[in-house]
C-alpha cells in the first residue's frame, strides 16, 4: 500500500475534508502541519504554490477537493456508478459555493454594517433555501448518493461545521430532517467519530 503524506497548516481549513475522508476510509496517512515560517521553503516545490498537498509514490497532488475525491475513489466513498459519482460531485460543488459565498461576502467584508446585513441574509434567506434544495437531494436514510456514506455527506458536514463558529448560533437543520440524518451518518461513522474525538483543537 502506498504511504500517504498530507501537508497543510496547523488547522482544519481546506485540508479537513481530506482528513475526514481518510478517517472514514480507515486509511493511514501522515498528517503534516506546517508552521508559517516553514511554508516559504516548500511553496515553490508544490504543484501550484498552495496547500494542502498530498504526496504518495513520488507524486504530488494539490487542490483539496481533487485530493479528497482521489482518496474517496480508492476507498469506494466517491459513488458507485458514474451517475452517483456525478451526484456526489454536484453536492460537493454546492457546498463549495456555500463556503465561498460566506468567505467573500461576509468573512472578507470590512464594512461592519454591510457584514452584518450580509450575515443576516445568509442565515435567514440563503442557507434555508439552499438547505431546502439539499434536503430534497438527500435520501430518507440520509445519503446524497446511493444508500451509504459518500464524500458528499462528508462535504456537507465539513462545510456547515466550518461556517458555524463564525455565526451567532450554528446553522439550524430544523425542517430538514434528511439533512439531520446526513449529519448523524457522518458523525456516527466509526472512523470519523474517532477522528473528531482525537483531532487537534485549532482556531480554524
Amino acid at each position: 500500500m502506498p504511504s500517504y503524506k498530507l501537508t497543510y497548516f496547523n488547522g482544519r481549513g481546506t485540508a479537513e475534508i481530506v482528513r475526514l475522508v481518510f478517517a472514514a476510509a480507515g486509511t493511514e496517512y501522515e498528517d503534516v502541519r506546517l508552521e508559517q515560517d516553514q511554508w516559504p521553503e516548500l511553496k515553490p516545490n508544490t504543484p501550484m504554490g498552495q496547500l494542502p498537498i498530498l504526496e504518495m509514490d513520488g507524486t504530488m497532488l494539490c487542490q483539496s477537493n481533487s485530493i479528497a475525491r482521489y482518496i474517496a475513489k480508492l476507498a469506494g466513498l466517491a459513488g458507485k456508478t458514474p451517475l452517483d459519482q456525478a451526484r456526489v460531485d454536484m453536492v460537493m460543488d454546492g457546498m463549495v459555493d456555500m463556503g465561498n459565498k460566506f468567505a467573500y461576502e461576509i468573512y472578507y467584508e470590512k464594512d461592519e454594517d454591510k457584514k452584518a446585513e450580509k450575515k443576516k441574509d445568509y442565515v435567514e434567506k440563503y442557507v434555508p433555501q439552499f438547505f431546502s434544495s439539499l434536503n430534497k437531494l438527500a435520501s430518507d436514510g440520509g445519503y446524497f448518493a446511493g444508500d451509504e456514506l459518500t464524500l458528499a455527506d462528508i462535504a456537507f458536514y465539513n462545510m456547515t461545521t466550518m461556517v458555524n463558529p463564525y455565526l451567532e448560533q450554528p446553522l439550524s437543520l430544523d425542517g430538514f430532517p434528511k439533512l439531520q440524518k446526513v449529519e448523524d451518518n457522518v458523525t456516527s461513522n466509526p472512523g470519523i467519530a474517532k477522528w473528531l474525538k482525537e483531532r487537534p483543537e485549532t482556531p480554524y
Binding site: 504543484p47 501550484m48 504554490g49 507524486t59 497532488l61 494539490c62 487542490q63 477537493n65 481533487s66 485530493i67 475525491r69 482521489y70 475513489k73 480508492l74 458514474p82 451517475l83 459519482q85 456525478a86 451526484r87 460531485d89 454536484m90 460537493m92 460543488d93 454546492g94 433555501q129 439552499f130 434544495s133 430534497k136 437531494l137
Partner: protein, 201 residues
C-alpha cells in the same frame, strides 16, 4: 430518437461550454437547450439547486457545471486513464474554475467604477492562475498525459474568454498556447466552434 443527454443553460458559453466541447470532441449527440426569461423562471424551481446548467440523463437531473462536465468526460472517455490521471486533470479544472465567474463579472459590469474594480482583481488573477497552469502543464499540447482530456477543454474555454478580454495574453504562456492550438486543430472541436451560437461570453 431523442439524444441521451439534454443540457440546459442560458444562451452563453460560460459554465455549460466545457460540456458542449466534451460532447463535440467525442462526437456524441446532445440536446443543447438555451433558456431565458419566463422559461427560465418556470424551470428554476424544478432544478436541484435553483441554477443552470443542468444535465438530464436517464431520468436524473444533474447540476453544477464542473460536475456535469466531469460526468460527460467520464461517459466519453475524456476524464483520464487512471485514478491518478483523473486527479491530475481535476487539479487543473479546480484551479482555473475560479477565474471564469470573476472574468464574467469584469466583462458584464455596467457601472464603470465597478467594472474598473473587477478588472483590477481579474488582471491580478489571470497571471497568477495561468502562471500556475503553465508551470504544471505538459509540453506536448496537453495539460496531462498524451491525449485530449476534459481539462484541456475546460482551460480552453476560460482562455478563449481571456483572449477576448485582453488579446495577446496567451502569448506569454507557450505550453498553454500549445494546448489551445491542439484543441483548435481538433476537427470536431473546430466544427463545433464554427457552428456554435455567437455569444459575448
Amino acid at each position: 430518437m431523442a439524444p441521451k443527454y439534454k443540457l440546459t443553460y442560458f444562451n452563453v458559453r460560460a459554465r455549460a461550454e466545457p460540456t458542449r466541447l466534451i460532447f463535440a470532441a467525442a462526437g456524441v449527440e446532445f440536446e443543447d437547450v438555451r433558456v431565458a426569461g419566463a422559461d427560465w423562471q418556470a424551470l428554476k424551481p424544478k432544478t436541484p439547486m435553483g441554477q443552470v446548467p443542468i444535465l438530464e440523463v436517464d431520468g436524473v437531473m444533474l447540476c453544477q457545471g464542473v460536475s456535469i462536465a466531469r460526468f460527460a468526460a467520464k461517459e466519453t472517455g475524456l476524464a483520464g486513464k487512471t485514478n491518478l490521471e483523473q486527479a491530475q486533470a481535476d487539479m487543473f479544472v479546480d484551479e482555473i474554475s475560479e477565474l471564469l465567474p470573476k472574468l464574467a463579472g469584469a466583462v458584464f459590469a455596467s457601472d464603470e467604477a465597478v467594472k474598473a474594480e473587477k478588472a483590477k482583481e481579474v488582471d491580478k488573477m489571470i497571471p497568477e492562475k495561468l502562471g500556475r497552469l503553465e508551470k504544471l502543464s505538459g509540453a506536448n499540447g496537453h495539460l496531462v498525459g498524451d491525449s485530449l482530456l476534459w481539462c484541456d477543454l475546460v482551460v480552453f474555454n476560460v482562455a478563449f474568454n481571456v483572449e477576448n478580454y485582453k488579446p495577446g495574453t496567451l502569448k506569454n504562456y507557450p505550453k498553454l498556447t500549445k494546448v489551445m492550438d491542439t484543441v483548435k486543430a481538433n476537427k470536431r472541436i473546430a466544427d463545433w466552434i464554427a457552428k456554435r451560437p455567437e455569444t459575448k461570453f
